[in-house]
Amino acid sequence: MSLALSPQEQSIAEGQDGAGMAMRIVAESARLLGAPRLIPIASTHIDGALYHGDSGTLFAERLVEGGAKVAVRSTLNVGALDLMGCSRIRLEEPRRGMARRMMEAYRKLGCEQSWTCAPYQAGHRPALGSDVAWGESNAVVFCNSVLGARTNRYGDFLDIACAIVGRAPDYGLHRPENRLARLVFDVSDLSPSFLASEIAWPVLGSLYGREVGNAIGIVTGVTFHPGEDALKAFGAAAASSGAVGLFHIAGVTPEAPDVETILAGPEPEAVIRVAPDMVAKARAGLSTAAAAKTIDAVAIGSPHLSNAEFDSLERLIAGRRLAVPIYACTGRHALALLELDGRRKRLEASGVVIVADTCVVVTPIMPDLGNGVLMTNSGKFAHYAPGNTGYAVLYASLADCVESAVLGKPVFTEIAA
C-alpha cells in the first residue's frame, strides 16, 4: 500500500519553509517504511540535539531560519554540554561552539530544555494508548512498556520533523497488533532474594535484549512490582544489547495484566526459561576488566539518576570521603531538588562529580587515561563505555560501586541468582 497524504499534509509538504522540509522528511520516511498514512501524535522526545558533527547543527538552524516551531510538547534528550555548569566538558573549539549552537537551535524550535534521557521522570508521561514519537532507546522502551504510550524508535532528524508537523508514519508499534508478545522470558527459577536485589534488573535486561533481539516478549515469574527505577534499568540494558522497543512483565506493566491478555496466539512461539547460570554469564559479560586490582572512577546514572537513586547514593556514602570520583549523571529536574536542601554540596564534598544535562559516554568528561578502569551499576554504561571512553568496565551493584570508590579498588558482594 502506498502512502496517501491528506490535502492539508500535501500542501504543507509543498512549502519552501521549515514546516515543508519537516513534512517532506516525515513523508519520505513513511514511504520507505511502507506506512499507508500519517497519524497525529501527542508529544515527542528528541534525541537529535546531541552533537555528532556540524551537519546536524546546520540542519537545526535551517529549520529555525524557515520559521519552524514544534506543534506538540517536545522534551530534549541529553546534549554534548553541561549547561548547568556542574561538570567540566573537555570538548574543544570549534566543536564546542557548534554543539552550543545546536542546543540553542532546538530551544528556538520550541523544545523544552529538559536535557535528560529520563524525561518520564521529569514530568513527561504520555497517557496509556496515546501515540507519540520518541527518540533515545531507553526512553522509547520505557514509554512503550511502562507508560503504555505508543512509539517506534525514532532516529535523529525524524524526531524533530515529527514534532514540527505533529504527525508520524502509521506503522510498527503504533498498531495494537504489533504490540502483542510472541516470546515468554520466564524468571521463576531465580531466587526471590536475587530478584529483589538492585543488580537483578540491569543484568536481566542485558540477557533479555540478547535473547529476544527486536521481538516482543513477556517476562513471567515476577511476583512483586520491582519499582520504576528497576524497570528503567531493565529497559535501558535491553535496548543496548538488543533492539528492544517494548517489553511486557506479567502483572506489572499496563498492557499485560496477565500472560493470556498479551500473547499473540494461544501458545508462545518460544519460552526462554532463565536459569541461574545464564544470569551469572550475563552478569560476567557486562565487565571487560575482570582482573583489575584498582579502579579509576565510578559512573552511575544511565539512564539519568532519579531523586530516589540520589537518596540511596547519599545513604551508602554516609559522609565518607571517596578515593576515586563517582560521576553521577542526572537531569536538571533532579538537580533542582538536590540544590534545595544542600545535598549537592554535601555529595560534592565527598568527591561525587555531578554531571547534568549530558553524560560521560556521549561527551568527553572523564580524563583520557588510555587504560583506565571504570566501575558502574548501569547495564547501558557497561555496554557503551569501552567503545566511547576507552575505559575498561567492571559491573557491580551501587553498594559495591560506593565501597569501591571509597577504597579505590574493586569490592564485590556475591549475590547468587
Binding site: L32, G155, F157, G387, N388
Partner: protein, 137 residues
C-alpha cells in the same frame, strides 16, 4: 554481471570498488564520521574505509543516531559512492533524505537481494542513476 536495482533513495550515480560487509554495523560508534573508517574493533571489516566505495550492507544495528553519522559523512565528502541494502533501513537512510533536503549532493541507495551480494565482492562497479549496477570498464 549486471542488474537493475530498486531505488530506495535517489541520488548521484556512483562508481567505486565494492565493499561487501559480512556483518551488520552500527554507524554510531562503528564508523568514524570524519574519515569513513570502520572503527568498531569487533566488526569483521574493521579498518576498511567506506568512503568512495559501493557499500553493500547486510543490515544495521544499534543507535538511532546512524542517520546523523551518514549525513555527517555526506557533509564531509566522505560518503560511500553508493549504498546497497537488501531491505530499506529507515533510520540510516534518513541521513540521505535529510542531506538531500539540505541541498547536498548525496549517493544513491538501492535494494538488491542479499544472496546477490557476494558476486560483487571486490569488483569495480558503476551504479547508474536508473539503479543499474554494472562492472566498471
Amino acid at each position: 554481471m549486471s542488474a537493475t536495482a530498486e531505488i530506495l533513495v535517489p541520488g548521484k550515480a556512483g562508481e567505486g570498488e565494492a565493499l561487501v560487509l559480512t556483518a551488520p554495523i552500527s554507524f554510531w560508534g562503528g564508523v568514524d564520521p570524519r574519515t569513513g573508517r570502520i572503527a568498531d574493533v569487533r566488526h569483521p571489516q574493521h579498518g576498511e574505509v567506506i568512503s568512495g566505495r559501493v557499500l553493500f550492507l547486510p543490515g544495521t544495528i544499534g543507535s538511532s543516531s546512524a542517520s546523523a553519522v551518514l549525513m555527517e559523512l555526506v557533509h564531509n565528502g566522505r560518503a560511500p559512492a553508493a549504498l546497497v541494502l537488501h531491505e530499506p533501513d529507515a533510520i540510516l537512510l534518513l541521513g540521505l533524505i535529510v542531506a538531500r533536503e539540505m541541498g547536498w549532493e548525496t549517493p544513491m541507495a538501492v535494494r538488491v537481494d542479499r544472496g546477490a551480494f557476494d558476486a560483487y565482492r571486490g569488483e569495480a562497479l558503476t551504479v547508474a542513476a536508473d539503479g543499474a549496477i554494472t562492472l566498471a570498464v
